[in-house]
């Protein structure tokens, strides 16, 4: 079994703290009423939070490249479905 370098406990605690701060930011941002930008702001913050969980907590950052390619394929598939659906309903 190959030995991987251990991630210090402190790194995970820092990431957790960051996630809580971002949750606070997204609540405050929603109360400021950015109008049509509020959806984009919320999704952008959620994407950053999701990426932190995926790359650090789910260890994707230190995983082999294959895992990143697989995740990209899944996300591209979702994006294609989203875009095609909106291309349909936007021009009815």
């Amino acid at each position: 079994m190959e030995k991987k370098e251990l991630v210090p406990y402190g790194t995970y605690i820092m990431i957790w703290f960051g996630l809580l701060v971002l949750t606070g930011v997204t609540i405050i941002a929603a109360s400021l009423h950015f109008g049509q930008w509020s959806i984009m702001t919320a999704i952008a913050i959620a994407t950053v939070k999701g990426a932190l969980v995926l790359f650090i907590f789910m260890n994707l950052k230190r995983e082999e490249r294959l895992f990143k390619i697989m995740l990209s394929l899944a996300l591209i598939t979702m994006t294609v479905i989203m875009v095609l659906t909106f291309a349909d309903i936007s021009f009815r």
Partner: protein, 252 residues
Amino acid sequence: MSTATLHEPHVHVDATGAKIAMWLFLFTELLLFGGLFLAYAVFRTYYPADFHYATTTLSVSIGALNTALLLTSSLTMVLSVAALERLNRRLSVILLGVTALLGILFLVNKYFEWSAKFHHGLYPGSQDLALHPDGEKVFYGLYFTMTGLHGVHVLVGVGVLAVILAMIARRPRRTVSVPIAAPTALALQGDSGPLWHQAADAQLDAVDVTLVYRENEAVAHRQLIKLENAGLYWHLVDVIWIFLFPLLYLIS
């Protein structure tokens, strides 16, 4: 007297293969929730005003509390993995227990949140809701479907964590069957003399020896991959909530 020596057999663990399988499963989960997010996005463009109003009826404080609970449970989950990596079995078990407990607290919160909605007559197919505009009906339908499906995932996750916890908490042991040529006298030899002795038995052709390890790296590594995969599932459920929370509770 002949002496038999027990060897720990080499057990090959394909951690990468196990993880690939877990990620493939997670992608199916992603598409399952992806379909619901797509429905949400489409209906939101159809009924922006109704969605705007319905969002404000959900309790931001309960949603925020549940977000904090799930994020913290993700932390204890990843720390549990880190502890087992350091062969700290005790700490790993404690952190895993805390993770499951936070998951249960999340569900308790969800119960009270749903009860309040039901109390106000807001549930799919209710007579009160039938008087609301179409967009609000769709919103509450999506709200109950998405948080309900997510809640089921949390429940399953708690079950998975409990199974893994029971597995790690048990001291690693292995039973091997040692064949012997009958009739043989058996003796257990300690450092300071014989511990146990049995006279020759013509019926006996093998003895089962159970080894209980104080700590064993090979066993810990075999359990680690299961713990890591359970963690991947738990974190994915967290990621889904990270997107559900702003979309259902915040955007107005």
